[in-house]
Structure formats: structure tokens, C-alpha cells
Amino acid sequence: MSHRLASGGRLIDRRQPVNFSFNGRQMSGFAGDTLAAGLLGAGQTLLGRSFKYHRPRGVVASGAEEPNALLGLGQGDRFEPNQRATTTELFEGLAATSQNHWPRLEFDLLALNNLVPQFLTAGFYYKTFLWPRAFWKHVYEPVIRRSAGLGEAPGPRTRDPDRYEQIYAFADVMVIGGGIAGLQAALAAAESGARVALWEQSAHWGGRAPVDGIEIDGTPAEDWITATLARLAAMENVQLRLRTMGAGVHDHGYVLGYERVSDHAPGDDAPRHRLWRMRAGRIITATGAIERPLSFAGNDVPGVMLASAMRDYLVNYAVAPGQEVVIVTNNDDAYRTALALRRAGIGVAAVVDARADPAGPLPQAARAAGIRILAGSGIRKVKGGRHVKGVEVCAIDSRGVAHTAQLDCDAVGMSGGWSPVVHLWSHCGGKLIWDEGGHFFRPDPARPPLGQDGAGFVLACGSANGDLGPVLGDAQATGCRAAQAMGADGAASDAGRDTPAEMAEMEPVWIMPRAAEYDLRAKMWLDFQNDVKVSDIQLAAREGFHSVEHAKRYTTLGMATDQGKLSNINGLAILSDALGQPIPATGTTTFRPPYTPISLAAIAGEARGPLFQPLRRTPMQDWHDAHGADWEPVGQWRRPFAYLRKGEGRTAAVNREVRNVRTGVGMLDASTLGKILVSGPDAARFMDMLYTGMMSSLKPGRCRYGLMCNENGFLMDDGVVARLDEGRFLVHTTSGGADHIHGWMEDWLQCEWWDWQVHTVNMTEQFAQVAVAGPKARHLLERLGGMDLSREAMPFMSFAEGALGGFDARVFRISFSGELGFEIAVPASQGRALWARLMAEGADLDVMPYGTEALHILRAEKGFIMIGDETDGTVIPQDLGLNWAISKKKTDFLGKRGMERVAMQDPDRWTLVGLETLHGTVLPHGALALAPGHNANGQRQTQGRVTSSYYSANLGCGIAMGLVANGPDRMGEVLDFAGPKDRIIQARIVDPVRIDKDGERQNV
């Protein structure tokens, strides 16, 4: 059983015990432990169950590659599933729970899956649940949902209480990975004068070198690391960051980094995670290498670990994997573990080496230390269920029918060689080559990802580059090269000299033993988390899944949360072997960001809750809020739909507001309307191009309604234009259209008519605007005094500037309700005061605010169109009976050519009419008018649709507008409209103008 040793542990502080719990059981570790180290130190080797077979699983690795030790962390609002114990730092009070078992970790009924080996093989789901069809919903899916899946999602009512943030950063040279290669590369680049950022995903600098006992410049690596860090920290052009994972490399040197700011110290003020959005000129990946498992039967039994992970736990945390350990390997590196175990006083039963004659310096040292070496051998099978009890050894080239030796042990350390971490190199298109000596894929320096300057912008160094021997010389050169590419060519000091033990050649072993029988192959795990075995890949190959991408998806190899960090190469090798082709011919699957999972909250950053998106507020927003506003979103604005009085419902409020405008006086906050100043000698010419109508003939002081179309001729925006003086127009756009129309204008002025002398200024937010409408509107405004608003002084469609009640006002005599109407624009800073003043002055006139719904109904009663209701991007002004607003004199305007197309001239186009149901009810918005017959898809033919539909309190019935084929020629005709649930609603075609056809009310 795993246990804590009495001394040692370079990363732990024994003076600081840390209490934590696992499945409610109290345990204790030390400050500096990872959760995995704490658990192993406390003797807990069984940590969870596998995905499909619910087999018992323990820790395999010591870092980000861990596939098994995934736990639920935290409680309540802070619960989070699938957290890797190997990368979770222990803290006081940490509460962890195991996953994927029912009912208990130690006794899991679903492990029955495991007893039927043919069950859940490759493609099982695709093959099995085909019929009967009805079983899917009620039988298969619930069963699969119960048995599959790892951690549980947090409860639907939980709300993450922690803070998350993002940050933008910049560097000439970004070094990812804080092992000795990364430190050396960063130092070289920084000494060259480049601005350098260095990230390390773990909580410690130095990587594996101290664990592996590497010496640099004749002293332990630790000394060099400390000294180098001090030099880096003293440089102003260097940013060092621990606990920050390089998650992805993207176009043009964009790197995403995931900083776990306070996962290890919850409770203080710090944000939990920080997402770094780094832009770097050159990126150096010094991301190291990951040891590969070996494929032997029972390689997933708790107690079987990577040999390097054993060494990590031993050296870093003083945690021993067991009392008696067997090492199985195909290379020299694993002997480091055997020697370290022996030095720590742990029993090493034997090193089982696949090679016939392991004779390198490390095997020799092991022999000299009295460690038994079983050469030319492999593990036939591991004995034990919930933990290792022993192994059977057989000849490596045999079928594994019988064993040659049996060894008692409680832990097995395996090493199948190393794979460089090439993920970041590959994310943005860097290509790989197969290394014949090391039997791994490594970055091909001739085919790097290309940046905006056309040069490769990612450089790999250290073991990430496939250099498993000395790395510092190359790392230094890489750092200098990256800096030079960014124009920094200062002198860098000499590289450190690292002298790792010499390694004899490894010998690839993809299946152990090489000719293993099916029974053994069906117990050899490749992807531990997804339960993919050697036999599954071989089955997929037989069934024709020859492409590595297909085989991956068919078997789910590498699709688990560890994304194949351990299984990739082994799986490829098995597939290649089954297909009888070399591994490079099979290739690899695609590496995609992020390198390890990152929290969704970090991706959201500040954009959550009230900051999810900007909320635009008018100067009068607070008043509306305090007076019953029932909000509706309009773009990023929020406008009052209606103002609800105490005890009043929405409908009643809307009806009250609508009636009040026709009988008294109402006020609308129209500040959201777009207001764009168009000025310059060519302003009038430009206005004539923008609008379908003639604007150059508009007199200063006057207003005109206009339509804007895109080059298709489709209606895009509408509004009132005021000519301020000869060279200046004020364009009003729809509330949602201001930014778009301003951009549209600038596009034409900058990119097409750049010789025209026209300026635009978006003045939308400069003005608060209040529409005052109703028979008593003038009466109310005259109370403010200061301007002559009489019919004579200020006729319909004119405007005037003045001091209205002391406000700096521009008063427009316009109307969107058909009533006597004024719109008063004042500087936004005066808007709130103006609104309050008008409300106060009009109290005895029963002045009321009205919302957007009343606005809509009032305009519909008048047959006025609304962009977005009557238009949908395919409607030309002629469809809306707006021919009067299209100039026939102008030779050109935007959209004119589009309107000339044959389809736009079709007399049967759907055209605007009023609609009235036979019983006065309200037509459903968007309802289609049915026509006889069916189309090719068997659907009813249609001949029109409802574009706007409301209840009019003024008329006491439903009113609607719609587009109907040849509509205006069919007045009085009754159409069938499709209502909900196949109900037919009949409506008559009528004039869209329902109130004051002659427009006398607005003209008083």
C-alpha cells in the first residue's frame, strides 16, 4: 500500500499539516502536497471507477496527463466535477469525492459490465441500440445515462460565487513551460533584450530535472534553477508566472493562458482563475515530455503507475507507491525509479526489461545496487482487482500462455518510453515528424506554424522538441533565435551545462508480450478513462476504420478529458500494426486547444450577470425604473414596454397609454433614436444618395421623412431628416440602426466617394429626446415658455431651436402617432430634468408616459410602418406602398439599381394592406394567409402574412397590417389565415390607415 515516508519530500513542508477529506473520510497531508500525493500518502490508492466498465482505478500519473484520478471537488455552489487530483494543490478543508460508481466506490454494482468482456466493445453503442426504435427514449437512453459519464454536473440552482477575469498581455518571446529548458530559453531571450513571458502550469519551477537527479554545471539542478530564477526575476523585461497553463496557440502569435490564481488558497479576495490573452512575436514551447504506459493485461489495476510518476511522488512528496515494487520498462529511464526506490528503502522486486541486454549506465547502476533485472521479459498479467497483489512475468516475444516467473508486489511502475508534448506546436498548424530512434512524434522544424510575417512563430526546445539528453545548450540557442527574430540581438550569457546520465536505446513494445493472446489483449488498457483496450483498436481496424480520425471516434480512444495524452502513441502503434503499416503512415489525430480543460467561467471572464452584455441607459432610465417601467430589450437598450401602475396589468397599462395619447397628452422617451450629423459642401448630394427620396430640396428649418435601402433595394432604415442649415443635415435613424447606419455612411464616404466633401458625426447620445404627443401636447409645452410653438410659427414638419423653459432645446414638430406631436431634443445632461419638468407641468393635464407597445399601436392605427415588423430584409419600399417616398427624378441612389430587377417589378409581389378579423379579434403576429393548393413539399400555398397585429383600445378591436399578394387591389376580400393548432382565422383586407385618414389631427 502507498504510504508516506518518515523523511524527504522536496516540495512539502512537514511543519504544516493540512487536513482534507475524501468521501467524507478525514485525512491529513502536508503543505505543498498535491491532492494525489495527499491521498497516496494517506494510503488511498482506489480513487474512482472507469467510464464504461466501472473498473477500480487509481492514480497513474503525477501531472496534467492523469486519466483516472478525477474527483469531485468542493460542495454546494462551489462543487466542481472531474478535477484532476494530480494537479490539485492540497489546502486546508479540501473536500473531495470519488465519481462514477453506484452505490459505493468500494462496491460498484455497475462493475458487472466488466464480467461480460464482449459487452461494450468498440462501436458497442452504434451496433447495439439500433432497434426497436421506441426503446431509445425509455430504455436505452436512461440506462446509458445512468451508467456512462464521469462526474455529475453541479446542481441547476447552484451559482458559482467566485470571481474570474481575463487579461491582455504582450511579449516578444513567450516561453511555455518552466522546466530547465524553458528557464534557459527565457533567460537567453531576456538577456538578448526581448520582452519575455514565462509560464509554468504547476506550482513549481524546474520541471523534472531535480527529480531525475540531473546536475548542471556540476551541482544539483535545484541550485541552477534557484540562481536562474533569481536572475530572471531581477530583469524588468521578464514576466514569470506559475500555475499558468499555456492552453492554446492560435493565429498570429495569440496564446491563451489559464492561470489558477487561487484554487490552492480559496477564501481570500483573489479571483479564482484568470485567462491570459497573450500576443507574442515568437512562442517557445518547452512543455516537456510525457511517459507512455505499457500495454499488458491488468495495466489499469490501482497500484500500476508510470515509473516517472512514482519517482515524482517519492522525491517531491516522500510518498512511496507501495512496500514492494516491480518496474517494467523498455528503456533506461525507468531504472532511475528503481534506484530512487531502493535509496528510499522501498523493496524493488525486479526490473522487468523487454530488452534482451540492458547494459546502459543506469541498468548497470541498478545491478550494482543489487536490483534484480529480468531481461527479455514482460508482464504477462497483473494480479489483483482493487489493488495490485503481484505480477506474472513471461518472455517478451511469447504469446503469454504461461508465465516464467511470479513476483509478489503491491505496486508496478511502467515505462514505455517518452512522447514530447507537441500539442502547442501543433495547435496552429505545426507539423510533426516520426523520430526513428526515440519512437515518438516530434516537431518538424522545417514546417512550423506560420505567423503574420510569413515566418514560423513557434519554436520547440528541450524534451518537447524530442531532446531527451542534455537540453540547455539548445534551449539557449532557441531563446536567442526567438529574440533575434524580434529584433533583440543583445549578448546572452553562456548556457548551463546539464549532464544527464547517458541512455541506451529503447526498444518499442506496443503489446506486452508481443504475441499476446486475445484474453490478454482484452485486458490491456490504452485509454484508461474511456476504457479503450488493445482489442478494441484491433477490432476497429478489422471493421475498416483505417483512418486514425475514424478509429478514434469509433472506439473513443483519446476522447476522454485527458485527450489521449497517455494513449495517443500507443493506440496509433496498435492501429498501425493491425493495418500492417509504419506509424508515420497512420499519422496522429489533430491536437486541439485547450491543452487541459479550462473553466467555462474563465472563458466568460467578466461577462456574466449584469455585465453579460452592455446595457445602454438613457438619461431618463432611473425615472422610468421608479415609475413602473416594464422593460423590453431593444438592441442593447432597454426601453419601457409600458408603465404599470399599482395593481395594473400589462394590457390595461398599454390600453390606458394608447387612449391617453389620443385624448390627452403622452410622453415617450425617444432618446434611443439614432441622430447623425451629416455636414459639408457635398452633404446634400450625399443625402440624395442615401435616401430613396429627394433630400437636397429640403429647406433649412424643415423636416422630411425618408427611407434608406441597401444596394439590393431592400428597405434598411427610416426616419425623419432635419436640415439644420445649407450644409448640415440631422439624420434620425431607428433605435437599433444608429451604429449600423453611421457605419454605412462612413463606408460610402471612405471607400467609394472619398472625393466628396462630407463629414458625419454620430450625435445619438448627445441628445435626450422626448416625444410629447396628443391633443394637449402644445398646451403642455407652452407652459414651459420660451419658444413660440404655435401652428403658424412652427408648422407640421418644421423645427426650431430655443430656450424652452430654460432648456437648450431643439423642438421638432413631427408625429409618429398621428396626433399633434413634438419631439424635444436637449443635451443629454438635461434630459432627466426636462422629463421631470414636463411631468410636473402636465400633472393637471393628466400627462402620462407611454411605452414602446403604445408607440407601436399608435403608429399601426395610422398605418405607419415599422422597420423590423413590416420589413424583414426582403421588402422594397414599393411593397409597403411607399412609392411616394421614392424620387423619380434622381438618376441614382443606393438601392435604385436593385429595385430595377425583374423580380422587384412583379405586380404580384406581396404588398402592404390593413387586415381586420371578421369578429374583431387579434390576428396572430406572423400568421400566413393561405392560398389554394399545395407546394412540392406538400405544404399549403400561401399568399401573404401578418406583419403587425395589436388590439386597438381606441377602435375597440384588433388591427393588423400585412403583406398580401397584389393586396391593395383586393380591398374587401376575406382571406384565411393559419392560426395555432390548424385553426383558420378569417380576416378582411382593409385600408391600413384606421384613424384620421386625412391627417388632420397632427396638423392642428
Binding site: I167, T618, H759, S829
Partner: protein
Amino acid sequence: MSDTWASALPQAQFDGLIRIREAGLCGMITLRGDPAALAGPLRAQTGLDMPAQRRIVSAGALQLAWMSPDELLLCLPHAEAPTMVAALQTALAGQFATVANVSDARAVFDLSGPRVRDVLAKLCPVDFATLQPGDIRRSRAAQVAAAILSLEDDQFRIICFRSVAGYMFDLLAGAAAPGSDPALYP
């Protein structure tokens, strides 16, 4: 009528990693035109020279900022804006130039403290190491447009549209929350 006027977020303030203050009513005038044509009348009215690309020139309470190749922003006391607009319009009469009072279209926040770059770096895709005092950088803060003015070493001013003043203030206050110093800038 002192209560007639109200800035976007009167007296809004926050103290955390940095000090955030809503600047109150600020006068702002947009000038568009050929810089060569604007230079003379501007100097005559304000005493200010033309700023270089992305720079700000100041004299007393006046600041003139480069906004684009044909756009300048003149900042001045709020009450003086209408008079200045009229004076500039007169001075520029007959020229192809546009003068517009945009004082009320904006919200302004003053940010100060040694960590001001670190706070802004959380919201703006801007390399603050390249921003010197007297520089203006137009960019975005999270999802809204922002003009960032580097005034003095630890003093910045951020200008946004008035309607998003609340959003901007909440963004800044969140980014300046105590305990969240990213220690990115020296």
C-alpha cells in the same frame, strides 16, 4: 439651474486596486477636417498646437487629442463648450470642417494609482507598456468602445458613450477589486 444638468453617473466612485472617479460634466468638441485647415483657427481660439498622431496636447484646462487622420477632440470645461463651438464655427466658416458639441454624449472616468495599467489590461486589448503620458489610444473596454487617455504616469482617463456609463463603471470596479492585482506591469 444647477439641478438641470446631470453627468452620466454623478459622483460614482470606487477605491480598490486603483481609484476610480466619475469626472462629472466635461466639455467635448468633435472637430473634423483637414488638420492643416484646422490648425490655424484652433491655435487662434485655444492656443493649442496640433497634436501628433495619437497624442494629446494641453494648455490649462484645454486638451486637444488626435482621434483619427481627420478628427480631433477638444476637451474643455463643460460650460465653455457652446461658446467655443460657435467661435470655431465662425473661424472655420467657408472651410470643409465640422464642429460638433458632443459634451453630453460621453461619460468620463478618472483612474489613478500605480496599478492602473494592470486594471485596464483586464478590459482592453492594449499594450500599456507602449502607452506614454500624453498618448491617446482608442480601443474597446470589454464590449464597448473606449478612448484611453494616458495623462500622467499613474493617471489615466477613460471616455465612453454616456449610455454605457454604468456598464463601464461596473467593469472598472470589477477589474479593480481588491486582491486581484495581476502584477503584470512594473
